[in-house]
């Protein structure tokens, strides 16, 4: 049995209805209401309320990185606000087994008139650090934020990037056992976001508990060890990240997902009639893990034999959600040969896209059937949508990666340099000349 970090029991939070308008009353209205109530001897009429959270029970173990996901208004932020002690629950109970630091906003309490140095102390204090603690970590914080030169400049002169970096640096150096983070990562440029993710990964490795809300499923799948799906203030699902993410996507999808029946014209000599996406173990699923690879299952029938010297093929397109075709793979190629029957009858095909190839993201599949002689019979796009999710960190270092593909490339350390590997450039050689194109490759990054 793991050690609990957070235990939420039948938590409920009720708000007054009408979140668009002002949530506060005026004393005059309240007064009028009370006076009327006195006259009739009746209590205040029950005004319209809405439960932002209802009967939420959760158990978070120490060292878990838990992502709270769900649609807008599902109650994610409310749950975080309660855990962060910003507001109190209406019913239920939360037990916290450790110091809590919350990061619901970047730069909470920053004052534009104060210098960077002063704001570090201000921000650190409201986030729960003592002055001694801040003093001890001050240099580290400033170095992390890369604002050494401007530390005694009022923050109103900072660029928004500097402001965010400094604010996050303070938060990143909190020494709490439980970190509560709300979309704070959605700010800053990509490089900085990546460092934030790396910092969260550090926190996880240090055995700290992290609870965060994010709309970015790539982040969720990259970082979380567990996920909780909220819907209308209730827990819809909780558990393994891929399962919960799948459930979430199932509740939100619009393009067909998972499996689909096709209705090909009856006069086609050969056609695919049903398709499904599946995980590495060929279990149908609309969400697959990056390390397992995507499998496409196809069912169809041959209705007429193909002409002599010709044969039927089925091809699958993999496209990005932005409709860029990454590749097309055929059932009949020089390297692959999954021959379809030449006599009328049903067939079943399985197409396995290699593991570790597709970067985490949403993909759209397309389908083509035809004759190798050139005649096209069927073309369906978009056919199905499928999500590839990150199930473990790439190299344990980079939670997200650049580019559409994440193929496994062979890297080899040649240090100390063996005799068989001469230097890429001899001393004095400048890389220009016939080697130019080849030499910039390995030195480029």
């Amino acid at each position: 049995m793991s050690v609990p970090a957070v235990r939420v029991e039948r938590l409920g939070k009720r708000y007054r209805l009408g979140e668009d308008g002002p949530r506060y009353d005026t004393l005059r209205e309240e007064f009028v209401r009370r006076v009327r109530g006195l006259g009739r001897g009746a209590p205040r009429e029950p005004s319209a309320h809405v439960w932002a959270l209802r009967d939420v029970s959760l158990e978070i173990a120490q060292g878990d990185v838990v992502a709270i996901i769900g649609r807008n208004g599902a109650g994610k932020s409310t749950l975080l606000r309660i855990l962060a002690r910003v507001t109190a629950p209406t019913s239920g109970r939360v037990a916290l087994y450790g110091r809590v630091a919350s990061l619901l906003d970047v730069g909470t309490g920053f004052h534009p008139e104060l210098t960077g140095r002063e704001n570090v102390f201000l921000n650190g204090a409201v986030l729960g650090m003592t002055r001694a603690e801040i003093r001890r970590k001050f240099d580290e914080i400033v170095a992390f934020a890369e604002v050494e030169r401007f530390i005694d400049t009022p923050t109103k002169r900072y660029s928004s990037g500097m402001w965010v970096r400094l604010a996050f640096a303070v938060a990143a150096h909190l020494e709490a056992e439980i970190l509560i983070i709300d979309e704070a990562l959605a700010v800053g440029d990509l490089a900085f976001q990546r460092r934030c993710l790396a910092k969260m990964e550090d926190a996880r490795r240090a055995g700290r508990t992290v609870v965060f809300v994010s709309h970015d499923l790539a982040t969720v799948t990259a970082l979380a060890t567990r996920a909780v799906l909220l819907d209308s203030g209730r827990v819809l699902d909780a558990g393994r990240v891929p399962d919960v993410v799948r459930r979430y996507l199932e509740t939100t999808g619009t393009v067909p997902r998972g499996a689909r029946r096709l209705d090909p014209a009856p006069d086609l000599p050969c056609a695919v009639t049903a398709v499904a996406t599946a995980d590495g173990a060929a279990r149908p699923s609309a969400v697959v893990a990056r390390s397992e690879g995507l499998t496409v299952l196809l069912e169809g029938e041959v209705r007429q034999p193909p002409p002599d010297g010709d044969e039927y093929y089925v091809a699958v397109d993999v496209r990005t959600s932005g409709d860029v075709t990454l590749f097309r793979t055929h059932s009949v190629e020089e390297r692959e040969r999954a021959a379809l029957p030449r006599v009328p009858g049903p067939f079943r095909l399985e197409c396995r896209v290699p593991a570790d190839l597709l970067a985490p993201g949403t993909y759209r599949l397309g389908l083509v059937t035809g004759l190798t002689g050139g005649r096209r019979l069927q073309a369906v796009a978009p056919l199905l949508e499928v999500d590839v999710v990150q199930d473990r960190l790439i190299a344990g270092v980079w939670p997200v990666t650049e580019g559409l593909l994440t193929p496994r490339c062979a890297w080899r350390a040649l240090t100390p340099r063996p005799a068989c590997a001469p230097p890429i450039l001899q001393p004095g050689q400048d890389g220009a000349g016939p080697w130019h194109a080849a030499a910039t490759g390995p030195a480029g990054r």
Binding site: L27, E30, V86, L96, F121, V126
Partner: protein
């Protein structure tokens, strides 16, 4: 039989507003936040030293000038046998402090809603910092009073030792009213609009521009329930040697100040857990 090890929670969050020992411990641990908030207020106010200090001194001086002209010269209000300007300035010292403290603490939660809605710390620190911070302004403005006292050859005396006591009444009053207003202002935003009016009425109901002796005898008991009567009259007595406030006024004032503080703290405590929902 082996029993499952159930660790004790470090903190339990529940809907009740009960004050638990853990809250006091948390407040003590977070005390740095209070100092930082006070220090932030000072930093911002005295950022440009000349304007900061200048305004702190000018405000009571200009008010003294106006009061001296209108009430001293035109209306010829009595001033306990002292030059009216000195009389008024000694009253304005505690009054300016209270007005500043009440105005700032009353709006502190709404003003710092970014903090209240985004991070936990004992909420009472915001109005408390707003009440403590203007004490520095008071100290700065008091240097002028010292100059005046010397100028008019008013001999300092042992009664000066009682000054902190009367200032304490002013601080307790300001904190009590500040807690009431800050908490109510979150729920009922029109409280903020009534603040200037309240301060204005309070000014007239306190012996700043006139001596207590001007208040008809039969109204004195009611009048003494305003804790600033004891505070202002007491400060004036310790600085200038005007007639000392009598024991009844002192008891009524101190009692009223305490009552306001206790009720203010209770109301604040009751409402503070959902402040963030209304900001």
């Amino acid at each position: 039989m082996a029993t499952a090890h159930v660790p004790t929670p470090w903190l339990v969050l529940e809907p009740t507003a009960r004050l638990r020992p853990s809250d006091l411990r948390a407040a003590w641990r977070a005390r740095d936040v209070l100092w930082i908030l006070i220090w932030r207020g000072l930093k911002v106010r005295y950022k440009q030293t000349v304007i900061g200090v200048g305004w702190v001194v000018l405000q009571p001086l200009l008010t003294t000038l106006v009061l001296t002209t209108v009430f001293g010269a035109f209306a010829r209000l009595p001033s306990d046998g002292l030059p009216y300007a000195v009389f008024a300035y000694a009253g304005l010292l505690p009054w300016t402090y209270v007005a500043q403290a009440v105005t700032e603490s009353g709006t502190s939660l709404v003003h710092d809603r970014q903090l209240v809605t985004k991070v936990y710390f004992p909420r009472v620190f915001l109005p408390a910092a707003a009440v403590l911070r203007p004490l520095v302004d008071l100290a700065v403005a008091a240097t002028i009073a010292v100059g005046m006292i010397a100028w008019f050859h008013i001999a300092p005396a042992g009664r000066l030792l009682a000054l902190p006591l009367f200032l304490l009444v002013a601080v307790v009053t300001a904190l009590g009213v500040g807690l009431w207003l800050a908490a109510l202002n979150v729920r009922y935003r029109d409280v903020g609009y009534t603040l200037p009016f309240l301060v204005q009425v309070w000014f007239l109901a306190s012996p700043v521009a006139y001596p207590v002796s001007l208040v008809p005898e039969r109204w004195r008991a009611l009048y003494a329930l305003n804790p600033l009567v004891a505070a202002i009259d007491g400060v004036r007595w310790t600085l200038l040697g005007t007639p000392a406030p009598d024991a009844g006024v002192l008891v009524a004032g101190a009692g009223a100040a305490l009552a306001v503080l206790v009720t203010g703290a209770l109301v604040f405590r009751r409402l503070e857990r959902t402040f963030a929902d209304f900001l």
